[in-house]
């Protein structure tokens, strides 16, 4: 007996909200990407907890796919940040207010 499943859900919910707050409140593009990472991590936590709750391995399999997705997302996201930093000289999302390429 570890803890009720609801405690894992609460922990993941708070973690997800921290990630969402980070992605909404921060203006630094790198911090926005970090917020997305925290949210993916919280989703993985729920999947592992549910995998133990229903004693089924599918949750753990899904976490492997989430890890893959996070790695791909970070690679492309950081490449995008570097490209836009070269173009505009800033990583502040508020600075990206020009529609002209």
């Amino acid at each position: 007996m570890i803890v009720p499943f609801s405690h894992v859900l609460f922990l993941a919910a708070i973690l997800f909200l921290l990630g969402a707050v980070c992605a909404v409140a921060r203006r630094n593009l790198i911090m926005i990407l970090i917020g997305v990472e925290i949210m993916l991590n919280a989703a993985g936590l729920v999947f592992v907890g549910a995998s133990l709750r229903w004693e089924h391995l599918e949750g753990q399999v899904f976490v492997i796919f989430i890890l893959t997705l996070a790695a791909a997302e970070v690679a492309v996201g950081l490449a995008l940040i570097v490209t836009s930093y070269r173009r505009t000289g800033s990583v502040n999302a508020d600075r990206y207010n020009l529609l002209k390429g």
Binding site: I2, P4, F5, H7, A13, N41, V48, S51, V63, L80
Partner: protein, 176 residues
């Protein structure tokens, strides 16, 4: 409260505290370093919840590879932490805190009413052998799709890194 529950609550306190500190840091490097602590705590919770392979994968991939990639980019761009007034900070954080508070209240109402969330978790372990067998027997096709996704991400990152050089070359040709 038994030992497992005590370890779980201790790890969740470490996880939430380090994530809160990471989210509120002005300097991106500090945020990344605190986030490594957060991901290691998540890996230990995975271990506690019976997923030793995922725990190691979390520490290797998240805390190792992804966060080092973040550190590389932060150091490469040589960012300076922004200084701003508390009024601007309030206009940033107020919507986020309203969103977070509302969703937290919603979660606090919804989670206890779900009957599936009541039973206590058993201490079971699914080792790498069972997980790998299950993964490659039932989910071999998604694994192939995931590997294809990684390939596309690699090509996309390379393309995004190259594009700027090409653009410069064309402008130089236009100028000459």
């Amino acid at each position: 409260m038994n030992l497992y529950a005590a370890i779980f609550y201790l790890l969740s306190v470490i996880l939430l505290a380090s994530t809160v500190v990471a989210v509120t840091r002005r300097d991106a490097i500090h945020a990344v370093v605190y986030l490594i602590i957060s991901f290691i705590a998540t890996g230990l919770i995975f271990y506690l919840l019976g997923a030793p392979f995922l725990a190691l994968l979390e520490i290797i991939v998240y805390a190792g590879a992804i966060m080092v990639l973040f550190l590389f980019i932060v150091m490469m761009l040589r960012l300076t932490p922004s200084q701003r007034t508390w009024k601007a900070a309030l206009s940033q954080w107020a919507p986020a805190i309203v969103l977070g508070g509302f969703s937290l209240v919603l979660a606090a109402v919804m989670i206890p009413t779900d009957p599936a969330s009541n039973p206590a978790l058993k201490t079971l372990t699914a080792g790498p052998r069972e997980l790998g067998r299950f993964l490659f027997q039932k989910y071999w096709f998604p694994v192939e799709i995931a590997s294809f996704l990684l390939l596309i991400a690699l090509v996309g990152a390379l393309l995004l890194g190259r594009q700027e050089k090409k653009a410069k070359k064309t402008t130089r040709q236009e100028g000459a």
